[in-house]
Amino acid sequence: MNTLSRALTAFVGACALLASCTSAALAAPTTANLRVEGPEGHPLDPGTNYATDTVTLATDTSECGPDSNKEESRKIVGPSAMGLIDDAKATNRQLRPYLVSDAFHPGLIVCQIGDKIGSFATNTAWL
């Protein structure tokens, strides 16, 4: 009986683990329209449909101020507004470099899109 109970417990645990892993892995890519407006009326992207999904963003970048968390990258599971830019930059080079920072842990901030740096400069921000 004890063997049966242990086996059942292990089975249920495995199922729960499987469910938690697959729910993230099965997140489907989606499509959204991205518009990026730079300063002085200069659009970096006038509004384009991009497919987006889970992304891994480098956060250990010297251009984005102090790196307090020593994490070199951060994974954003599923389609997100921040991941949309990362996927778009592969097509639209005006969006490069695209840099994010985890200096304000735990959230990420956008600190640079194209040649415009924000968030760490006075009075300017992409956030």
Binding site: L4, L8, F11, V12, C15, L18, T22, S23, A25, L26, A27, A28, P29, T30, A32, N33, R35, V36, E37, P39, E40, G41, P46, G47, T48, N49, Y50, A51, T52, D53, T54, R74, G78, P79, S80, A81, M82, G83, L84, I85, D86, D87, A88, K89, A90, T91, N92, R93, Q94, V100, G107, I109, I113, K116, G118, N123, T124, A125, W126, L127
Partner: protein, 289 residues
């Protein structure tokens, strides 16, 4: 502050804002020192096609942080024969002096400029082309100058986002393909979409139209779609994934439910019966042998 989705200011960071598909995401560079992009979000509403030297009406609207729409007075509209400023109701009249495709742009400090709206200027009667049918396609030069004089047909393919607080907008069917060395990529590239809506008088009008963008070969992560009906190309690192989670999650849920059932007294009883039956059969076969 610098992220709006469907004209509504995001209340969470961009890494936490989950997209379900079809959203209009706007990232803007806010410069508070120069009062640049720190106000409302502007949008223009103009006919898709006008006649040469015939005045046409342009309406400017402004979206606040909650996506509430209001007429935008004092917006400077450029792209016509001469610049014009919108009046109290956000309207002004423009003319175009020659046949071409013009891009109207609306600016007002400290607001976020309107997306350029392309208007085709012809010598034909506007009624000769249906403004309310079909999609919208253009063929232009690389860089989005839309100088190719492509074809357009109207389409009420967008949504009405008027007056709401963050109502979602669908996409129209604009496609714009680069020429020259990127001509082979036409089918997979669409730098923008147009949003059409009726303004109560039965006309469909373009709210947004393309300006400029780059065309790249291949199918990178940020693959572009030429319209809402296009199939979404998979990302390279997710090519083995199913196109949808439908079916996968219910299966997992079923397995978990069965596992949980096994923990209940009834499930345990059934499991014991199965095990006993199998043990009995194996014992009988052993005895028989």
């Amino acid at each position: 502050m610098a992220l709006k989705v469907d004209h509504k200011e995001a209340q969470v960071g961009g890494d936490q804002y989950r997209l379900n598909g079809g959203e209009k995401v706007l990232w803007y560079f806010a410069d508070f020192g120069r009062s640049d992009n720190t106000g409302k979000e502007l949008a223009l509403d103009a006919p898709r096609q006008v006649r040469v030297n015939e005045p046409f009406s342009v309406r400017a609207t402004a979206y606040d942080a909650q996506a509430n729409e209001s007429p935008a007075a004092g917006v400077r509209i450029t792209g016509g024969a001469t610049p014009a400023i919108t009046g109290a109701h956000g309207r002004t009249m423009l003319t175009a002096s020659r046949e071409d495709t013009i891009a109207l742009r609306g600016t007002r400090t400290p607001d976020i400029p309107a997306v350029p709206v392309k208007v085709r200027v012809t010598s034909d009667s506007p009624s000769s082309q249906s403004p309310t049918e079909g999609g919208h396609s253009e063929t232009g030069s690389r860089g989005g100058s839309a100088s190719g004089g492509g074809s357009r047909s109207g389409g009420r393919s967008g949504s009405d986002s008027s007056g709401g607080s963050g109502g979602r907008s669908r996409f129209g069917g604009t496609s714009q393909a680069g020429g020259g060395n990127v001509a082979e990529n036409k089918a997979s590239y669409s730098p923008t979409t147009s949003l059409y809506r009726g303004d109560g008088d039965g006309d469909s009008k373009a709210l947004q139209s393309p300006a400029s963008a780059e065309v790249r070969n291949g199918h990178p992560l940020g693959e572009l779609l030429s319209g809402p009906g296009e199939e979404i190309p998979p990302k390279p690192n997710s090519s083995s994934r199913p196109p949808s989670s439908a079916g996968g999650v219910p299966l997992v849920a079923l397995v978990v439910a069965l596992g949980a059932l096994m923990l209940t007294p009834v499930g345990g009883f059934l499991a014991r019966r199965v095990l006993r039956a199998r043990w009995s059969r194996s014992s009988a076969s052993a005895d028989g042998g």
